[in-house]
């Protein structure tokens, strides 16, 4: 993919992550568990908007035409989804690491939280990839991303936030398994919708 060649975006997002967490570190020092968790998911949301939204919005008309000639719509959206998902998994690993380093460690089950954050990054990237594909066709696309994106990710963020409480407590809560299943189900639904609907967006 061409994205690998545009490394400056990747490093840009990386710098964004690092500096935001550093500012949080200066502002908050070592926050309590719930605050830590809330800050983390908000961070993930903004990283996702920054990293994934670029994938469609930055492509010029000519380059989209080029992609159109070399690949089918399904392959194209699948590769975009895959690339962004990988990117977000890497980003979420990095930000968990930085969070633990700079804001202290209020969790009791760190590895569980790492896994959850990877799942969260993965599902957020799916939503935003598809939304970016829609918004890229309209004018003022970055404002539209915000309008369409935020209501759509609220349920996901709420679920993730609730699921990740488990990593902060020793007592295992009920309903954890079904929440994880629901998040995964939502991901499957999103991928299916993207594959079915993207060909209609593509022909222009």
């Amino acid at each position: 993919m061409l994205e690998v060649r545009q490394q400056y975006t990747f490093y840009g997002v990386l710098l964004y992550v690092a500096s935001t967490i550093f500012v949080l570190h200066l502002a908050m020092w070592e926050p309590e568990g719930p605050v830590w968790k809330g800050l983390f998911w908000m961070m993930m949301l903004f990283i996702c908007v920054n990293a994934v939204a670029k994938s469609f919005l930055q492509e010029g008309k000519e380059r989209l035409l080029y992609f159109y000639t070399i690949a089918g719509a399904r392959d194209f959206i699948l590769s975009k989804l895959l690339f962004n998902a990988l990117l977000m998994v890497v980003m979420s690993l990095l930000s968990v690491g930085l969070f633990l380093l700079m804001l202290g460690d209020p969790t009791t089950q760190v590895w569980l939280f790492v896994l959850l954050s990877m799942l969260g990054g993965f599902s957020l990237s799916l939503v935003f990839t598809f939304l970016a594909a829609i918004a890229a066709r309209a004018q003022q696309s970055s404002a539209l991303m915000a309008i369409m994106g935020f209501p759509l990710v609220i349920p996901q963020l709420l679920l993730l936030n609730k699921a990740s409480t488990v990593a902060f407590e020793n007592v295992l809560q009920g309903g954890f398994g079904s929440m994880i299943l629901l998040i995964i189900g939502l991901d499957v639904l999103l991928v299916a919708m993207a594959i079915i609907l993207f060909p209609f967006l593509w022909k222009d």
Partner: protein
């Protein structure tokens, strides 16, 4: 069939029946709910009408993507607008009800939040459509987003609010888990749901006709 008159008369009769029987008929006295149980005929039935009109809207969106006929796009848009109207009404009747049972109009209950998020997703549909000027493009992208929004409606309204504690009847901590009383059934199923749905269809067909006439005048 939709050009005929009989179903509009049926709609008026059903709604009259709903309002009269809803306010005057006898209802079972449940603890906590008491007389506010009458809101079943308005609030719950309006959500049902919303689900039905939004479903119709999605069906027309799919039809548009298959055939590329411009009328289907207008149908989908107007049904979605009516759905949003019923959603807003459902939210208002719900919070009036909440004033008398929970003590305040708005208490950040998961159900209220879920419904608000769902409405925001649909309002974004209208914004998205207005942001494009090209007719074909607007119709196609609108249809894609409409299908997507409908898919997201299920987690926000039906699944997520059920997984967290809620004061809403049907959830935990309230008395309405039991079977619906036959006296309520008599009004709810034959009267309220079809009544409000038919009203929605009526509004929508009027708006669709208006839209078609307006487009014929300014092609």
């Amino acid at each position: 069939m939709l050009r005929q008159k009989w179903w509009k008369i049926v709609c008026v009769i059903l709604l009259l029946y709903t309002v009269v029987a809803g306010f005057l008929g006898s209802v079972p006295a449940e603890p906590i709910l008491n007389e506010t149980i009458r809101n079943l005929y308005f609030h719950v039935a309006m959500w049902m009408a919303m689900m039905i009109t939004l479903t119709v809207s999605v069906i027309y969106s799919v039809k548009y993507l298959r055939t590329n006929k411009h009328v289907y796009d207008i149908y989908a848009l107007e049904y979605a607008k009516t759905g949003i109207l019923f959603g807003v009404l459902g939210l208002i009747t719900g919070s009036v009800w909440a004033r008398w049972t929970w003590g305040s109009f708005w208490s950040n209950d998961p159900k209220q939040l879920g419904a608000t998020i769902a409405l925001l997703i649909y309002l974004a549909y209208l914004v998205l459509r207005n942001s494009m000027t090209d007719l074909d493009k607007r119709a196609r992208i609108g249809a894609v987003y409409n299908i997507f929004a409908f898919a997201m409606l299920f987690p926000t309204i039906w699944i997520v609010p059920r997984m967290v504690d809620s004061l809403h009847p049907g959830g935990m901590g309230n008395s309405f888990n039991i079977e619906m009383d036959p006296r309520l059934r008599e009004v709810f199923y034959p009267g309220a749901i079809p009544g409000w749905t038919l009203l929605g269809v009526w509004i929508t067909t009027l708006r669709i006709r208006l839209q078609l006439v307006a487009e014929r005048r300014h092609p």
